[in-house]
C-alpha cells in the first residue's frame, strides 16, 4: 500500500469513527436521565465537532476549517459554563421552594 493510499484510507476511517462517536453522544443527549448528563453530552459533541473540522481540513485542504475549530472551542466553553450554572441554579431554586 502506498503512503497516499494509506492517508486516504485513514481519512475515511477516522471520519467514520468520529461520526460514530458523534452519534453515540447524541444518543446520550437524548436518553440522559438528568440535566447534567445532557450537558456532558453536549460538551462531548462540541469537542467531537472540533475533531470533525480537523479531519475535514485534511480531506479538503481548506485552511478556514481550522479557524472554525478555534471558534467552536471558544464558544463551546461558554455554552458549557452557562448550562452548568443554569443547572446549579435551578437545583438551588427548587430547594428554596421546598423550604418555603
Amino acid at each position: 500500500m502506498t503512503p497516499a493510499a494509506f492517508l486516504e484510507l485513514s481519512i475515511y476511517a477516522s471520519f467514520v469513527m468520529v461520526m460514530l462517536s458523534l452519534a453515540i453522544a447524541f444518543v446520550r443527549l437524548a436518553i440522559g436521565p438528568s440535566l447534567a448528563d445532557r450537558v456532558v453530552a453536549l460538551d462531548m459533541m462540541t469537542v467531537t465537532i472540533i475533531a470533525v473540522c480537523g479531519v475535514a481540513a485534511v480531506a479538503t485542504g481548506v485552511y478556514a476549517l481550522i479557524d472554525v475549530a478555534l471558534v467552536l472551542a471558544l464558544v463551546g466553553f461558554l455554552a458549557t459554563v452557562a448550562l452548568a450554572r443554569f443547572a446549579e441554579r435551578r437545583d438551588a431554586k427548587r430547594e428554596e421552594a421546598r423550604h418555603d
Binding site: A51, G61, I66
Partner: protein, 102 residues
Amino acid sequence: MIDIIIGNFLLLGGFFALIAAIGLLRLPDVLTRMHASTKAGVLGSSLILVGSAVYLAEVEITARVVATILFLMLTSPIGAHMIGRAAVRHLSKTHDEAENEG
C-alpha cells in the same frame, strides 16, 4: 513518510474519540461519564488537530492549532468542574432524601 505520520495521527484521534463516546454511553453515572468525555475526548480531537497541522504545514495554521489545543486543555477541566459541582449537589441531595426516607 509524512502521509503515514498524518494517517496515524488521524486514526489515533478517531480511536480516542470513539472510546470517549463509548464511555459516555456505557459508564454508570454522571461523574464517570464526565471523566470519559473530558479526558479521552480532548485527547482525540487534539491528536486529529495535530494531524491536520502536520498536513497543512504552515506557520499560521500551526499557531492556530496550538492555540486551539491549549484552549481545549485549559477550559475542559473548568467546564467539567462546574458540571460536576452541579451534579454532586443534585446527587448528594437525592442521597440525603433516600436516607431520611429509609
